[in-house]
Amino acid sequence: MASRLLRFEDLTLGYDRHPVVHHLGGEVAAGSLLALVGPNGAGKSTLLKAIAGEIAPLGGRIERCGFSRHDVAYLPQHSTLDPTFPITVFDFVAMGLWRRIGPFRGLGKAGRTRVAAALAEVGLSGFEHRPIGSLSGGQLQRTRFARLLLQDAQLILLDEPYSAIDLKTVGELAALIERWHGEGRTVIAVLHDLEHVRGHYPEALLLAREPIARGPTAQVLTAENLFRARQQGEAFDENAPVCERKAAA
């Protein structure tokens, strides 16, 4: 049985003391390829942020087994990347080696080779000297994937990695994610395309502020579960107390 990488213990997450995800429990095994699905506002991105250590839980805890928050490669939904910044594709992707080179060490020949290999992997060989501002949305997303590659992380978090990119790019990036999975890395991705999830992700967590279902994708993405998730999302009482369930227990 695969070892445990993450454990959620009665996890409640939110912003400004306003809960978004309630009472999430369970584990993520090392090497999982897990899709996070659910309606808008279900708390999927919030959960990824919490795993990445960007926000602290309002209640409960996340146990990271054998790694720190800085060992995670995280691709947020809303990038803070400034596309007008004067930097080449090569230098941008080389940022992925930060954990190895830090503020002072040079890239060296090995580093340059790795950057070139990462660019080749995402189909951007020959783009090394292009400014990032000259790239299309899909190409920019590929450069971000190349940077993720160089981070060489055991846990990779992807928040809507295919938004605003064409089908060809989606196919290529999906193949890359499957390769990561094949290498034994753990990938957790927030996705909206349920057909894509059914085709590529063996496990899914259906979230609608509370966990609706978790397990093999076919058993999670049933019509009944999806209906429940939609209802839960729409019927949710914004003014409900944070831990009603606990109070009732």
């Binding site: 803070t80 400034d82 503020p103």
Partner: protein
């Protein structure tokens, strides 16, 4: 004749040589900071912080008169506090950072002028507002040189994380702990250089030698390290021409320098490789892979 026009003022007059050295120190220290301010889209924040130095310097003036250490310390403390408070207000309220900076800038300017007026004359007020680049003494020059040195060394030390912070702040935050210290160090450098600029150009124009060369350079080059070098060059050129114009045409030195830098910016805006004309008339971008 031209050589006379260019060199005589600096050869013959000590105050011009001092002004030149002061401006060179400012050009070397303030421009890298200006480049990063522009890249982080914080140019107006720099302007607001420059104004925030005024009440600090004014308190120093109130306590010890036109004393360099007192006004420097006051300007540093208040400038830094305001830079942090503005960021804090934006984080804990609905107000965006630009709005909180605008309010602080107005309050700072008014309170600074009020404090100076309580004790000093209009001459003192003009000194604080517009600086005294032609009256820099040894202590002021030492301060300017020290700040330039500290800035260059610090920028060299934090260059890589600073570039990452400007380009993709969330990424730097996710891969290490250097994001917050780098941001804080950068704010300290901004305030330090504005204090240096305040002694030469006054609080109202200190930010000029920081932002204008950086903005001009941005219209010529697309690489951060070259951007810094070109910005330094523009600042040196603007300072020298400004000082000469001031000397030969009996113009106030600070505004002459800032206006020269402004003229260099306008020229860059028009004919720079990324300027208006190049974008309108240059060759079309062709796809190549």
């Amino acid at each position: 004749m031209i050589a006379d026009w260019l060199f005589a003022p600096f050869v013959e007059f000590g105050f011009m040589r001092r002004a030149l050295v002061g401006c060179l120190a400012l050009s070397l220290g303030a421009t890298p900071v200006g480049v990063f301010l522009i890249l982080r889209r914080m140019s107006l924040a720099g302007d607001a912080i420059a104004h925030a130095i005024l009440p600090g310097a004014a308190i120093g003036y109130l306590v010890a008169g036109l004393s360099l250490p007192a006004m420097t310390a006051g300007g540093m403390l208040v400038g830094l506090a305001v830079a942090l408070i503005a960021g804090g207000i934006a984080r804990v309220t609905l107000l965006r950072e630009d709005a909180s900076l605008a309010t602080i800038y107005l309050i700072s300017l008014a309170s600074g002028v009020m404090i100076v007026s309580m004790r000093g004359s209009n001459v003192d007020l003009m000194h604080v507002l517009f600086g005294t680049v032609l009256a820099l003494d040894d202590a002021a020059l030492t301060l300017l040189a020290a700040i330039a040195s500290i800035t260059l060394v610090t920028v060299a030390l934090v260059y890589r994380p600073l570039v990452m912070e400007c380009c993709d702040p969330a990424f730097l935050k996710s891969v290490g702990r250097s994001s917050t210290p780098v941001h804080f160090m950068f704010l300290v450098l901004v305030v330090l250089n504005l204090v240096a600029g305040f002694h030469a150009l006054g609080t109202l124009m200190a930010v000029g030698i920081m932002i204008l060369p950086a903005a001009a350079a941005r219209l010529w080059v697309r690489d951060v390290s070259r951007l810094i070098l070109v910005a330094m060059l523009v600042a040196v050129l603007g300072s020298v021409i400004g000082l000469l114009m001031s000397f030969h045409a009996s113009l106030p030195a600070g505004p002459a320098i800032v206006l020269t830098l402004g003229a260099l910016y306008v020229v860059s805006l028009l004919v720079g490789t990324d300027g208006v004309l190049a974008r309108r008339l240059g060759p079309q971008w062709h796809w190549s892979s």
